[in-house]
Structures are given as structure tokens and as C-alpha cells.
């Protein structure tokens, strides 16, 4: 009497399959399904009503969504580029330091150790228009102004970007520093003999070697910033009047405040495109940069 038994490899993989299904696959399928329904958290029965692509059509014509989308892209572009430039500058300087470099490297990483929520509260205080550090400093220097840092749309975006950059520039600095450590010394010496000024050596030798590291940092950070939520939520809550609304603050508002989970999930799927596009873009660049310095293969 033999019973058919499941193959051994399947049995061994089963726990992993179950865990992945429970935490990734099922939520994914569920959220995808619900984006085709008018699912409201407050009325569970709406989950069973199929509305086809209604939510998606609504999003595509929704000015508020596209404003948040555009703002996110802009925020991402500005924050990433500034972080890259600042990180590069910091890494180049730290690389020159010969004494106490280890300590310095640790200090650079401090901002990464704080929870974004705390960073948000910190900068909310710093930029507060009444009691904030910045305005008080300006006033004691004799400028009789109280700039509405977190109220004016442009200034609020600036303040949020400032906090974001303060927190995450070190990601670039550390990765670029790792790149600087990995650069072979010989080609740099050859470049000196070949007539390069220090800037030319940087431009023609150092930078091509750093590009892969920069693109790795870019990829990681673009995913990070594309889901920026905590700092914005704490500092402005996406307001005032949606002037600092980014994709994730909009989505969480739609999903949890307005309880329109179906619509929010549809937004989620549209904005994933953003992350996918950025990731593909930076990976292309990364591959090209690696090929350039002969690291491919």
C-alpha cells in the first residue's frame, strides 16, 4: 500500500513558500484586486463590487494626483542631485584627512542613525515660524522677519528637502568614500605624469571610477525618496492646502483618512511605475559605468 508523497524538495521549501505567500504574494494580489473595486474601509461589502478600471481612469484625470506625482519627481531629482554633490564633496574631503579619519567616518553616519520621525520633529522645530531656531537666529542677526518656513509652499518644500538631505547625504558620502578607497593609485600617478592638474585627474580618472558607486547610491536613494512619507507627514502633513503633498502622503490620506482603500491601491500601482522607471534608469547607468571602467562580467 503506497501513498503518493510530495517530493522532498517541495516539502523543504514549503515553509518558505508559505511565509512568502502570506507576507508578499497575498497582500500583493489582494491590493491589486482591490484597486479594481470601490473598496472603502468603512464599508467592507464594497470589496465585492467590481468596477473595472474606474479607479485608474479617475486617477489619470485627477489633477491632485498628478500634482503630487510631479512634486515627488521634482523632490526626488533635487534631493538626489544635491545629496550626490554634497556627499561627493564630503567624501573627497574625508579622503584627504590622514588623522582621525575613522572617527570622522563614524560622525558622518550619525544622521543615518536617527529615525526619520525624529528628524522630522527636529526640523519642524528648527523651521517653526515663531519659536524656531532659524527665525530666531535671523532675528538676532537683525533681520526683522518671521519667514513662514513650513507654511509657504516653496519654503516648505525647501525645508523638507533640507531635512531629507541632512539625513541622507551620508549614504552618498559613505558609498563614494568606499569608491575612493577602491581606486587604484597607479592610474592617478600616471595621470599626474601625463600632465593632469588635480582637477583634470579627478575629472578623467577619479570620477569614472566613482560613477558605479554613485549610481548604486542613486538607486538605493531613489527608492527611498520615492516613498518619502515620514518626514513630510511630521513636518507639514502634506499641507498646508496640499502644497507639499507627495505621492505617499496623498495615498495614505486617501486610504486611511478618506478610507478609500481601492483608490489608494490604484494610486500605489501607478506610482510603482515611478520607482521602476528610476531603478531601470539607474541600473542601466550603473552597468554602463561599470563597463566603462572594465568591471563588467
Amino acid at each position: 500500500m503506497t501513498r503518493r508523497r510530495l517530493p522532498e524538495w517541495f516539502l523543504l521549501l514549503l515553509p518558505a513558500i508559505i511565509v512568502i505567500a502570506a507576507v508578499v504574494l497575498i497582500p500583493l494580489i489582494f491590493s491589486l484586486y482591490s484597486s479594481f473595486t470601490p473598496y472603502k474601509l468603512t464599508r467592507p461589502s464594497t470589496l465585492w463590487k467590481w468596477v473595472g478600471t474606474y479607479n485608474y481612469e479617475k486617477i489619470l484625470t485627477d489633477a491632485k494626483f498628478w500634482a503630487a506625482f510631479g512634486r515627488t519627481v521634482l523632490f526626488l531629482t533635487i534631493a538626489l542631485n544635491l545629496e550626490m554633490l554634497l556627499g561627493l564633496g564630503i567624501a573627497l574631503m574625508v579622503n584627504k584627512v590622514t588623522w582621525g579619519q575613522r572617527t570622522l567616518r563614524t560622525i558622518i553616519m550619525f544622521p543615518m542613525m536617527f529615525s526619520p520621525i525624529l528628524v522630522g520633529f527636529q526640523f519642524k522645530f528648527i523651521f517653526n515660524d515663531n519659536i524656531g531656531l532659524v527665525n530666531n537666529a535671523l532675528q538676532s542677526m537683525g533681520f526683522n522677519v518671521a519667514l513662514p518656513w513650513l507654511v509657504d509652499g516653496k519654503l516648505a518644500m525647501f525645508s523638507i528637502a533640507f531635512a531629507e538631505i541632512w539625513m541622507s547625504t551620508s549614504v552618498f558620502a559613505i558609498l563614494i568614500l568606499a569608491g575612493l578607497f577602491a581606486i587604484p593609485r597607479d592610474p592617478l600617478e600616471a595621470a599626474k605624469v601625463d600632465g593632469c592638474t588635480p582637477f583634470q585627474s579627478f575629472r578623467h580618472i577619479t570620477l569614472p571610477f566613482l560613477m558605479p558607486f554613485i549610481y548604486i547610491a542613486m538607486t538605493i536613494r531613489s527608492l527611498d525618496v520615492a516613498r518619502a512619507y515620514d518626514i513630510v507627514q511630521i513636518m507639514t502633513g502634506g499641507g498646508p492646502a496640499r502644497r507639499t503633498e507627495l505621492l505617499w502622503t496623498l495615498m495614505s490620506r486617501t486610504g486611511y483618512v478618506d478610507a478609500r482603500m481601492g483608490l489608494a491601491n490604484a494610486m500605489g500601482y501607478v506610482s510603482i511605475i515611478l520607482s521602476v522607471v528610476f531603478t531601470i534608469y539607474f541600473f542601466r547607468k550603473l552597468t554602463a559605468a561599470r563597463a566603462q571602467i572594465g568591471m563588467e562580467g
Binding site: P187, E189, A190, D194, G195, Q200, P208, G294
Partner: protein
């Protein structure tokens, strides 16, 4: 005119002194080889001439101009590095043209200069490859090409052949010598290999522990070494050295009751009882019937061969003389078995005497 002058050059790495006052005058178009065991300060000297290393003391002048405080780009030198130091992200063509591009030469001229260098070194087929796609020998050629496109005043080579296999090394050695004959620039070449030094140099600078031990033409170093270090470093196999004591004024007493006359060059320079090293090259100890026919005072010795190294045109014979292992040579060799006893002749005029205490040569 590009003479290179080093005056009393000193180098400290922290507390460690790597160079102790190097003085050297290199004339225009000369091929000078710095040779010595590893760690003696050859690369340091070269890198100071290139401007890649600070000068702790003394003065370096290129073409009459003191360059101590000039960066490499203002010295009009080019350098070939031991590990080639090619730009890995550039093609061969870009590697060759890089210095000209930096010098803001126009693209057509750069292409012409790169093609010309590629022609001299046989790189035409490889112009669009990256360094990673080249063999060691090809990389070495690119490194040389990169050095010659600029028509620098001085070429600096730091062990450019040490990463190549023996056959390629010999081949490239010839190429470098031809290159020098063609372009005629001043070349300063660093190596730890005495054969490279002998074959390439107009003048050899032999260094040890941050000092210059002897400067001279290859034959000067070979024929009149100033001390036992030079005698054993230059020439292959190294010079044989046997301990002895001067007895009277014209005899050297070796171990085992053997004695030899003081060579003519050292007569009158030794005193009774002086401890010495008696030196001769393998070429001076040859078995009868397989030796160069030459005139001169000689000693006949019956010696037992312990080991042979056939090289084709000659065989190196190992034997014991006065309790010391020495090497002789056999021309037009025939097979020799270990244990065979041969009658050798030692040409006494060509022997050397060194003071045992100072290792310095004793010569009139």
C-alpha cells in the same frame, strides 16, 4: 639639452631614511640604469625625479632647471610603471592620446601621434581594445607607447619588464634599446635584474640600502668592482670569493694549504697577515681543452666536479676549491659526470683581492 642632476638627494619616510645623499649627473641622451636589490631605494629615486614623491633634502635639476617644487606636469618627463598603470576605462587609442588631449592638442594631431606610436610598437590592431582585453606584453607596449607619444625630455622606467615572462622580457629589452637608439632621449631605467642593467645601460648606477655603491659602464662594473657586493651582484654566475690571508707581500694563503700569488693589480697594496677575499670569475676557471686560449700567468688545479649546469654553448661546473664551492666554465662542452676530476687553469692576472674586513677591493 636635458641633463638630469641629483645633488645630495635624501629621502625620509617618517623616521625611516630611504636615501642617504644620492649624487648623480646624467648627460643628455644617456641611458642610465639604476640597479640594486629590492628595497635599496631605486623606485624612490625615480619617483622623486618624476615628482611623485617629495624630496626630503637635496636638489634635482632637469635640463638645468631645479624641479624640486614643480609638479610632475611641469617636468616634461614620462614614466612607464611596473604595473603599467594604464587607464582601465580608456581604449588603447585613448590611453595613447590622453596626455596630448590634456595638453589641448587638436584631435587630428592626437590621432596622428597615437598612430605613429602604435606603428613603432606594433599596436595598430589593438587600438580599440581596453587594457583588460590585452596580454601582459601588449599592455607593456601600450605603456611604452603612452610614454613616447609626448616626446618628453626624459623617460623614466620603473621595472617595466618584471611582470613579463622570460622570453618576452628578452624581446622587449631589445625593443627598448632600439627605441633609445631611434629617439635618443635621456632614459633613466630602474631594475633589480643585473642582466637588464648590463645589456641596456650606457652607465650603471648600483645601489644598496639607499647609497650608491658604484657608477660606471657595464664593463667597468664587471671588470673592476669596487667591493664584494658589486662583484657578486654584477655578472652571472656571481664572482667566486675565497677567504685567505696574505703571507709575506706576494702570496695569499688559502685554506687546505693552497696558495696563490697576489694578482699584479693588487701588488704593493697588501700587507703581511691581512685577511682578504680572493675573487675570480667563472670565466677564469676553465678545464684544459675547453678553455679560451690566452696568455698570462696561470695556476693549474686538479678539481672534482660536483654539479653541472649545461647552457648549450658552455657548461657551468661546480667544484670545491679550498673548502669553498666555486663555479667554473667549460667551453665547447662535452658531457661531464659529477665526481669526474678535471684539470683546470686559473688565470691569475684577472683575479681580484678584497679586504675581508671592509669588503673593499684592493687595487693599485
Amino acid at each position: 639639452m636635458t641633463e638630469v642632476t641629483l645633488s645630495n638627494i635624501v629621502k625620509f619616510y617618517g623616521k625611516h631614511q630611504a636615501l642617504h645623499g644620492i649624487n648623480l649627473d646624467i648627460s643628455d641622451g644617456e641611458f642610465v640604469v639604476l640597479v640594486g636589490p629590492s628595497g635599496c631605494g631605486k623606485s624612490t629615486t625615480l619617483r622623486m625625479i618624476a615628482g611623485l614623491e617629495d624630496i626630503s633634502g637635496g636638489e634635482i635639476a632637469i635640463g638645468g632647471r631645479v624641479v624640486n617644487d614643480l609638479p610632475p606636469r611641469d617636468r616634461n618627463i614620462s614614466m612607464v610603471f611596473q604595473n603599467y598603470a594604464l587607464y582601465p576605462h580608456m581604449t588603447v587609442r585613448e590611453n595613447l592620446g590622453f596626455s596630448l588631449k590634456i595638453a589641448k592638442m587638436d584631435a587630428a594631431e592626437i590621432a596622428k601621434a597615437a598612430d605613429e606610436a602604435a606603428g613603432i610598437l606594433g599596436l595598430e590592431e589593438l587600438m580599440d581594445r581596453k587594457p583588460a582585453e590585452l596580454s601582459g606584453g601588449q599592455r607593456q607596449r601600450v605603456a611604452m607607447g603612452r610614454a613616447i607619444v609626448r616626446h618628453p625630455d626624459v623617460f623614466l622606467f620603473d621595472e617595466p619588464l618584471s611582470n613579463l615572462d622570460a622570453k618576452l622580457r628578452t624581446q622587449m629589452r631589445v625593443e627598448i634599446k632600439k627605441l633609445h637608439q631611434k629617439v635618443g632621449n635621456t632614459i633613466i631605467y630602474v631594475t633589480h635584474d643585473q642582466i637588464e642593467a648590463m645589456t641596456l645601460a650606457d652607465r650603471i648606477v648600483l645601489m644598496k640600502d639607499g647609497h650608491i655603491v658604484q657608477v660606471g659602464t657595464p664593463l667597468e662594473l664587471f671588470n673592476t668592482p669596487v667591493n664584494t657586493f658589486v662583484a657578486t651582484f654584477i655578472g652571472s654566475p656571481p664572482m667566486n670569493l675565497i677567504d685567505g690571508v696574505v703571507s709575506g707581500s706576494s702570496t695569499i694563503q688559502l685554506a687546505d694549504g693552497l696558495s696563490v700569488p697576489v694578482p699584479a693589480s693588487a701588488q704593493g697594496q697588501v700587507h703581511n697577515g691581512q685577511r682578504v677575499k680572493f675573487g675570480f670569475r667563472a670565466d677564469n676557471l676553465m678545464p684544459y681543452g675547453h678553455a679560451v686560449e690566452e696568455e698570462g700567468e696561470r695556476a693549474d688545479l686538479e678539481l672534482t666536479v660536483t654539479l653541472t649546469e649545461p647552457l648549450g654553448t658552455e657548461t657551468v661546473l661546480f667544484t670545491d676549491l679550498a673548502g669553498t664551492e666555486v663555479q667554473g666554465k667549460m667551453l665547447n662542452p662535452r658531457p661531464v659526470r659529477p665526481g669526474e676530476v678535471l684539470k683546470f687553469r686559473l688565470m691569475l692576472d684577472k683575479c681580484h683581492v678584497f679586504d675581508a674586513a671592509t669588503s673593499d677591493a684592493i687595487r693599485g
